[in-house]
């Protein structure tokens, strides 16, 4: 385990949001790590806290409603939560950078593409304008954008969704970050563009050896991109394993349910399996397993006690009473 060092190590991170006076924990004591050069997939339905976790890593949780209530986020051995804003800013966009789901609105409409890439370059390295300009054009080439000199001085509204996502990636990787957090980068794109973006990210990963935290709810993407996967449900990590085990030997009923709902080209079935019920609203389930209401294999114990993460075989954990050894 120790031969490749963990780039990021999160231990029982808890994030609470205040609404109408009450404080609800949207992320409830999650722990996982990302090894250098590894792509970790974070899977879960929307509302399970995966985006909030990524924002907390970047230190971008809006402070009045949200608050990091506990746990640590260690990046290269240092706990990011202790960083002062000034130091955190040095990390953002330089050591850890992030790309978002909605390319159409992620770029500032009134600034040119070039200016938006230069901004991150000038922030973190002392270059002058021309050096920044060249570096930006180089990045545009790197992410596969045709006629980079011309695009450099265009405005965002002149580019398509895919192109804009490429620019976002260019911005993200401009300062060779050690960790790139991609929050559902391809969800808003149509399939063909999605494939191009994923291939692009794959090559870039080889070239730059950046570790990626890939947040998605699309298991197909996970299969293609990720080395290891963390499954989240209602603010908790319910399963963590390498990608092959996930598809071949999933343990947690929720993971099974997710996998069950993927249509297989080979099989022909009339009705796709879908998990009954909905994700419980954060903070409504006080005790017991949060998936209990929707779990086919629910036992009494599940409703009573909150299941811990059981260690399955090497590197495989699962939060479900089925696997309690007692």
């Amino acid at each position: 385990m120790t031969m490749t060092k963990n780039i990021l190590d999160i231990k029982d991170l808890t994030i609470n949001f205040k609404s109408d006076g009450k404080e609800i924990s949207v992320v409830d004591g999650i722990s996982f790590h990302i090894k250098a050069g590894e792509t970790l997939g974070v899977v879960g339905e929307s509302g399970c806290g995966k985006s909030v976790t990524s924002l907390s890593i970047m230190g971008l949780i809006p402070s009045p409603p949200g608050r990091v209530a506990g746990g640590t986020i260690e990046f290269e051995g240092k706990n990011l939560l202790d960083f002062k804003e000034k130091d955190m800013r040095k990390v953002r966009g330089n050591d850890i950078s992030m790309i978002f789901q909605e390319p159409m609105t992620s770029l500032n409409p009134v600034f040119t593409i070039g200016k938006q890439i230069n901004e991150v370059l000038l922030l973190h390295n002392d270059m002058n304008q021309t050096e920044a300009r060249n570096r930006s054009i180089e990045m545009l080439k790197l992410v596969g954008i045709p006629r980079p000199e011309q695009i450099y001085s265009n405005y965002p509204y002149q580019l398509s969704g895919g192109m804009r996502q490429r620019v976002m990636i260019a911005i993200g990787l401009a300062c060779q970050p050690k960790l790139l957090i991609a929050d559902e980068p391809t969800t808003a794109l149509d399939v063909t563009i999605q494939a191009q973006i994923l291939n692009l990210m794959q090559d870039l990963k080889e070239k730059t050896d950046t570790s990626i935290m890939f947040i998605t709810h699309d298991l197909g993407v996970v299969a293609e991109m990720c080395d290891r996967v963390v499954v989240m449900y209602s603010g908790q990590v319910v399963e963590e394993t390498d990608v092959d085990t996930l598809f071949n030997d999933p343990k947690h009923p929720y993971t099974l349910g997710l996998l069950g709902s993927i249509p297989k080209a080979t099989e022909k079935i009339e009705r796709l399996y879908s998990i009954r019920g909905q994700v419980p609203q954060a903070g409504t389930v006080e005790k017991g397993c949060r998936f209990a209401d929707r779990c086919d294999k629910v036992m009494d114990r599940c409703r009573e006690e909150d299941p811990p993460l059981f260690q399955m075989k090497q590197g495989h954990q699962c939060r479900c009473w089925l696997y309690a050894e007692d």
Binding site: R89, R92, G93, F100, L107, N108, P109, E119, L123, Y155
Partner: protein, 296 residues
């Protein structure tokens, strides 16, 4: 746009002919006997059919820029308007400057520090400012800053100092509207994704606000400020009367009090024309600010 202008010239023209009081009688008083009265009506052309008179009125006004003669001072209205136009123009420009300066800064501060005391304070003072009558506010400013402290002259024109109190008074009302508008516009932009991207780049919060957010938030504010500019002229009428500022506003009020119809006619036309012109300029400037519109 054009038909509205056309209708206004008709209204302004009919103004003289429908209002009570015979123009000759007002100009020359009761003394002149019937015979010279008829002779004058003929010479002034009041007996011609309305359409002919309207034609002559439009010809004089649009081509020669001659708004006729004031009944009271027997001087050319257009000359008087030109001299006084400068006074009103400076006053409105400077008060718009104050309005934007105060309005935008307070708007941003209360938006960025949402629900803090500053924000609540900002909101309360805005709604109070909107409820204060401009003329009373002017009187109070005059009482405090001119009479009590003596920092500024109470009224009249002359040095730049004379301009401070009137422009602040006029600008204050509009500033309040701009604060509200800026605040909501900034709040909206803050929710945009690109602001999050900027922060993700490690940009300082102040730069995020003053360049990324402001640049986008200002576009609707400028449009709204442009519209407010028109209402400034209305406000100027009152403020000029309070501070005895010899602009077009006080000229209109004097005109109305003395039923000096050529003056009223010319000024109503001019004010509404100015108002439409400003709306047009705002539309044009909208394109300049927002690149997306420019290339359309």
């Amino acid at each position: 746009m054009i038909p509205i202008l056309f209708i206004i010239t008709i209204i302004a023209f009919l103004f003289v002919h429908l209002t009570p009081g015979d123009p000759i009688r007002i100009m020359y008083g009761a003394e002149i006997d019937q015979e010279t009265y008829e002779q004058m009506r003929e010479r002034e052309g009041f007996n011609d059919p309305l359409v002919v008179q309207y034609g002559r009125y439009m010809y004089n006004m649009a081509i020669q820029g001659d708004f006729g003669q004031s009944y009271r001072t027997r001087s050319d209205v257009s000359e008087e308007v030109l001299r006084r136009f400068g006074y009103t123009f400076i006053l409105t420009i400077l008060s718009m400057f104050w309005a934007i300066l105060i309005g935008v800064t307070v708007g941003i501060i209360s938006a960025t520090k949402r629900n803090s005391i500053l924000d609540r304070l900002g909101m309360i003072s805005t709604i109070t400012a909107l409820s204060i009558p401009e003329f009373w506010f002017g009187l109070m400013m005059m009482q405090i800053f001119a009479v009590q402290f003596g920092w500024f002259p109470t009224s009249g024109s002359g040095t730049w100092l004379h301009l401070i109190l009137p422009s602040l008074t006029l600008g204050f009302g509009v500033a309040a509207t701009i604060v509200r508008f800026t605040r909501s516009s900034v709040l909206e932009v803050l929710r945009e994704d690109y602001v999050r991207t900027a922060r993700a780049k490690g940009q300082k919060e102040s730069v995020v606000i003053w360049s990324h957010v402001l640049r986008n938030a200002l576009i609707p504010v400028v449009t709204m400020a442009g519209l407010q500019f028109g209402f400034l002229i209305g406000g100027a009428v009152v403020v000029e009367q309070v501070f005895a500022w010899p602009g077009l506003g006080s000229y209109l009020i004097d005109g109305i009090l003395t039923r000096d119809y050529p003056v009223i006619q010319a000024l109503i036309l001019l004010f509404s024309f100015q108002f439409l012109l400003i709306n047009l300029l705002v539309d044009i400037s909208y394109g300049f600010l927002n690149p997306q519109i420019r290339y359309e």
